[in-house]
Symmetry: C2
Subunit: 300 residues, 2 copies
């Protein structure tokens, strides 16, 4: 597969890459043009401007994942139900009609699952999981994609069998900026205070976050923790709460996929729980989209 | 004890009552003059204006509880450590000097406790617990005071032996108004949808709130729950999370103290967990302050 273009088009940003045959980026372009920033009907124009820099020949295959395939995106690519493997995603891509520049563009569907009668969804993270499997040469395991809404996914025999969303990053931001804790915490987070962070991970075992978060206030009130350490402590509480819900005992090595600053925190927190972690960044996205492109080209 | 005046002076409101000998209010006055609304040095003036309506004789005993005794209040009444009974509170009141109108004013201390090395605090709720004990003729049990920061207190042999704070009301408001859920929920809460609320209480068992709250979004996305039912569902999730952390199995009847709209929700949620509840409102505050006043007068 040469000349494939991959787009990771999320809520708040757009990242595009021209990939080599192994799914490695030859050139990349990042812009704050997430789907919330694109005006109604504006997707073709943003797409054309983004890719114009690469003078792509007509017929080039472009593959996009993320919220661009949601109801609020360019074209809805309905969720693919779990369990799902890479071939399931490839079979259910949504082909965009009338793509600018004579290019071909397919949007990868997200995944849906259900815990009892409550559904859960992801868009974009499924591609990263499959990319990580390829990069690590694995076909099973527990994967976490931390962020505003963290996703924990289970993979068996090359298929995602289920997953769950945790509003970890968002709740951290709400507590940190908008709750009573905002009066105690410093204006900026500053660098990670590893000891305070790990204390938070440990203290997350004391009870639900509803309770433990109040401890960030009282520890400060009683001068037990300096204000500068409170953001790291609160981050440890929130991430620790997320870890409490995972079957870590039987997980083996956990794979953490995301930006370095965040995967580092999860690696530390997992280590504190006796679990080793492999971390991956953007490479997982590009490799996953390249693998789907290969399936599309060979089945075409 | 005749002619005692009780003040419940919290963060956002001031409630004052002239009490009869049994701690029942003869006259009440409510104002949005919580300690956050009182300008620096303004406590004596607000106190004088509030009580002027009752033409109290000099020497009248006034007793105040709540955040008025915090570092940000009129006069700091240091926390009394648990376990603590009513006599401990009475012994440690802070007498305010130079009270306007020749009145006597004592501020009731809050309580502190520790779970391991993380402290917890309350101010005002301890008075309500002791008032409830008197009103119900009990000397032990599990008490909950729901609100922005819910307090769960254990009482044994007439003393509060420990308690814990849950940021339940505040986190509900943050999720409801400021998280991604705000896009899905209607602008106003509307009346309680009991079925949706109880479904939330049940679904709280699925995992931590970080996860279950995202279900409010997906249930709507998949048209499984109408938007109007989502605030009640989310309220059930948050209150259910609070209940998950309590030793309800051994609690017997739980006492819920607070405003009727909130105690009704807790009573419903507790019933769904097989626990019966007694509910009390303002009467607990007045009765608790009257009991402390009696101890002050008899020991004086």
């Amino acid at each position: 597969v040469t000349g494939v273009v991959a787009l990771d088009w999320g809520t708040s940003s757009l990242r595009a890459a021209r990939l080599d045959a192994d799914g490695r980026p030859l050139e990349e372009h990042h812009a704050p043009q997430g789907i919330l920033q694109v005006p109604a009907g504006g997707f073709p124009a943003v797409f054309r401007e983004t890719l114009a820099r690469w003078s792509l020949p007509a017929g080039t295959l472009c593959l996009a994942s993320g919220m661009v395939g949601s109801r609020q995106g360019w074209l809805e690519a309905p969720y693919c139900p779990c369990p799902a493997g890479l071939p399931d995603l490839a079979r259910q891509v949504a082909w965009v009609p009338d793509v600018p520049g004579g290019l071909r563009l397919a949007i990868v569907p997200g995944l849906s699952t259900a815990d009892g009668d409550v559904p859960d969804v992801m868009r974009g993270e499924e591609v990263q999981v499959f990319g990580a499997l390829a990069l690590l040469g694995r076909d099973a395991g527990l994967f976490v994609l931390p962020g505003t809404h963290s996703k924990w996914a289970r993979v068996e025999a090359g298929r995602i069998t289920g997953f769950a969303t945790y509003m970890t990053g968002e709740v951290y931001g709400l507590l940190r900026r908008h709750s009573i804790l905002a009066r105690t915490l410093p204006a900026e987070d500053g660098p990670l205070d590893e000891a305070a962070f790990l204390r938070g991970v440990t203290d997350a075992a004391r009870g639900p976050l509803l309770h433990t978060a109040f401890g960030a206030r009282t520890l400060s009130l009683f001068d037990r923790l300096p204000a500068d350490a409170l953001p790291s402590y609160l981050s440890g509480l929130v991430i620790g709460e997320e870890l409490n819900a995972q079957p870590l005992r039987d997980a083996g090595r956990v794979v953490v996929i995301g930006a370095a600053a965040l995967t580092q925190r999860y690696r530390l927190a997992l280590q504190a729980r006796g679990v080793q972690a492999d971390t991956l960044g953007d490479a997982a996205t590009w490799r996953g989209l390249a693998a789907i492109a290969r399936l599309l080209e060979t089945s075409a």
